[in-house]
């Protein structure tokens, strides 16, 4: 087991390193750079900028050095000083720009995933136990709809409904009047009133697939011989269901929590933009469009790192939760 974890950790670190390189290269792809774009904007607004000035500006930002030097510089900054570079648009260190937003993103994702599991797992079990009942059909249909609706469209639909039917202000995380207020009970209530929507939007697709997986595995497991044996043993039906097929069906669902978390985080940029959340998503989009390379690079790196770490966690969980893998040292 220890060896398994050690191996996975090594792979993960190697992946992270390669990723940082690819991330940098991808962001280097577009022709031109931040300086050019900046100057272009300046010229648009009527300023006279000479080619020399552009060159000077570029030099100032360090954009005239070859990409590998900039990459090495960026990397060494991250590794030695936890310095992710300088955001060109915000004129601040990237860590400062992202800070609070990252915390918010992760918190939102964790809350979302917790709620979606709490709701989806019982529904999946229910659907499987009452196969072909009205409830089962309803959840199945909702599940399909939940998976077929792209999150950003779902966000727009919910926003629309809340504006038209509930007449509430939409988007953001606070109403205007609480924007700059210190925390208070009223502000918390207002916050919760706003937060249900992102949680629902981000959680629905994952919840839908959890219901489906849970239902399918339950249906599979409850016809297994060991369940019949338990029934033949005279174990009461309710206890039997929770002890045997539910335990087996939980395994794939719970183990994928790492992937789910990563999926939610990396799937959120568009939704966050639509809902105007103070999340790293809208910032990522803006940074991409402005070629603010260290900012977009850092955010892309965060998304990727979360995915890799999520996968790592899931691999470990899968091994820990299944005695067959756990006890054979994970030689699969």
């Amino acid at each position: 087991m220890a060896r398994f974890i050690f191996q996975r950790t090594l792979t993960m670190l190697l992946m992270l390193f390669l990723l940082s390189l690819v991330v940098f290269l991808v962001l280097e792809l577009p022709p031109g750079d931040f300086a050019e774009r900046y100057v272009h904007d300046l010229r648009q607004s009527g300023a006279q900028v000479t080619a020399e000035q552009v060159q000077l500006y570029r030099h100032m930002l360090g954009l005239d050095r070859p990409w590998y030097l900039r990459y090495l510089n960026w990397m060494s900054g991250i590794l030695t000083r936890f310095d992710f570079g300088w955001s060109l648009t915000y004129r601040m260190p990237v860590t400062q720009v992202i800070g609070d937003r990252l915390v918010f993103t992760v918190l939102l994702s964790v809350v979302t995933i917790a709620l979606s599991y709490i709701i989806a797992i019982p529904l999946g079990i229910f659907s499987a136990m009452r196969q072909y009942s009205i409830g089962d059909y309803t959840f199945t249909v909702l599940g399909y709809l939940g998976m077929a609706t792209p999150a950003f469209l779902f966000a727009l639909i919910l926003l629309y409904i809340s504006v038209i039917y509930f007449n509430t202000s939409a988007g953001g995380i606070f109403s205007v009047e609480f924007q700059n207020q210190p925390w208070s009970w009223a502000k918390l209530v207002d916050f919760l009133k706003h937060m249900w929507m992102p949680v629902v939007v981000l959680g629905t697709s994952g919840a839908a697939s959890t219901i489906r997986t849970m239902r399918a595995t339950m249906l599979d497991e409850k016809n297994q011989l060991y369940v019949t044996v338990a029934r033949a043993k005279g174990v009461p039906e309710r206890k039997l269901i929770w002890k045997y097929p539910v335990r087996a069906a939980l395994n794939p669902v719970v183990s994928t929590i790492g992937w789910e978390l990563a999926t939610i985080v990396s799937g959120s940029p568009i939704t966050a933009t639509v809902l105007s959340l103070p999340d790293i998503g809208p910032m990522f989009l803006k940074a991409l469009l402005n070629q603010d390379i260290y900012l977009s690079g850092t955010i892309l790196l965060i998304y990727s790192a979360l995915t890799i770490i999520g996968t790592f966690l899931s691999d470990i969980l899968l091994a820990v939760l299944d005695p067959r893998i756990r006890l054979t040292g994970g030689t699969q």
């Binding site: 016809n223 297994q224 011989l225 060991y226 019949t228 044996v229 338990a230 029934r231 033949a232 043993k233 005279g234 174990v235 009461p236 039906e237 002890k243 045997y244 335990r247 087996a248 395994n251 299944d322 005695p323 067959r324 006890l327 054979t328």
Partner: protein, 342 residues
């Protein structure tokens, strides 16, 4: 219905059907059999003849969408009586989800299944699953249950039982799992043990060990045993009486000696001829029974065996259901070949 004093369970005219999209399967088409106290009944037949369904009917665990249409399953039991006296219950008629049925399961009737590899949950230790049976039916503490489990595992020949009790099924070989299954089946000391082809999926040497084990345990526990197999050799070793099943019916029944020495039904005769004989001449070919079991959706008129029978009587066997003929000593055959009175 009255059970004879020496009878533990009697099944009469049991009919089980499976209504499926493709048609209705008659899995059991009027099964009659009975098991005496402390005796071993061997049930023999080809796969698909309804042996396992008969066994599962007793525990009322027929897989969906199967259902009992007709017939009775009378069992002598102490379950549900306050003073511990025996009474008779028709298992075919009580609700499979009732408390009564739940207590009979494993408390009175336990079963060893065919596939030891899938009989246990991979996520729970063997000890947990075995002691669960005891905790469900007997008033014991967890500690006692564990102690009893270790004892039982030792009885069935699992070494280092006190450590192995905490291990998971995948850490056991097939033979060891089947031993554990037998330990689990006997832990509540049931009055009837059903063994559904318990040795089929094991290799031959392990099979022999298992049979020996069952022989020994039978003497110690005094349970009646319903031993299901398609292997007549096994029956000869372990059974007192034999019921031969074909297409959801019992076609011949008798004491083991009578069946082997004086088989009456052509199907039984064919089955016996199909056993390879070590002492036989080398040039003797293995005899196979002609033809195949017909599709389960078809209903064969007359005697169900007539399409494959070498001694079929034209105009009789394919039209009329054969009568049950008794040959003395409880030896019956359901066949047209024998005159009514003997």
């Amino acid at each position: 219905m009255q059970l004879n004093p020496d009878e533990l369970i009697r099944i009469s005219n049991l009919k089980v059907t499976f209504p499926l999209d493709e048609g209705t399967v008659r899995a059991l088409d009027g099964v009659n059999l009975s098991i005496k106290r402390g005796k071993v009944l061997g049930v023999v037949g080809e796969s698909g003849c309804g042996k396992s369904i008969t066994a599962r009917s007793i525990l009322r665990i027929i897989p969906d969408p199967g259902k009992i249409d007709e017939g009775e399953i009378w069992l002598r039991t102490t379950v549900g009586s306050s003073d511990g006296s025996e009474r008779m219950v028709d298992l075919a008629r009580i609700d499979p989800n009732s408390e009564m049925m739940r207590q009979i399961r494993w408390g009175e009737v336990a079963m060893v299944f065919q596939e030891p590899m899938t009989s246990f949950s991979a996520y729970h230790t063997l000890g947990d699953q075995i002691s669960e049976a005891l905790l469900t039916h007997r008033h014991v503490s967890k500690r006692e249950a564990r102690q009893r489990t270790i004892e039982m595992l030792e009885r069935v020949g699992i070494p280092n039982a006190s450590t192995r009790v905490n291990q998971y099924p995948h850490e056991f070989s097939g033979g060891m799992r089947q031993r554990a299954m037998i330990a689990m089946a006997l832990i509540c000391n049931p009055s009837l043990l059903i063994a559904d082809e318990p040795t089929t999926s094991l290799d031959v040497t392990i099979q022999a060990q298992m049979l020996e084990l069952m022989q020994n345990l039978r003497q110690d526990f005094g349970s009646s045993i319903m031993f299901i197999t398609h292997n007549l050799g096994v029956i000869a070793q372990i059974a007192d009486e034999v019921s031969i099943m074909y297409l959801g019916k019992v076609v011949e029944h008798g004491r083991v000696g009578d069946i082997f020495n004086d088989p009456k039904h052509p199907y039984t005769i064919d089955l016996l001829n199909a056993i390879p004989k070590i002492a036989g001449q080398r040039k003797d070919r293995l005899v196979a029974i002609e033809g195949n079991i017909p599709s389960p959706f078809e209903r064969v008129p007359g005697c169900p065996f007539h399409p494959r029978c070498s001694r079929m009587i034209e105009g009789l066997c394919e039209t009329q259901a054969p009568p049950e003929i008794e040959f003395g000593n409880g030896h019956f055959a359901v066949c047209h070949l024998y005159p009514k009175i003997i």
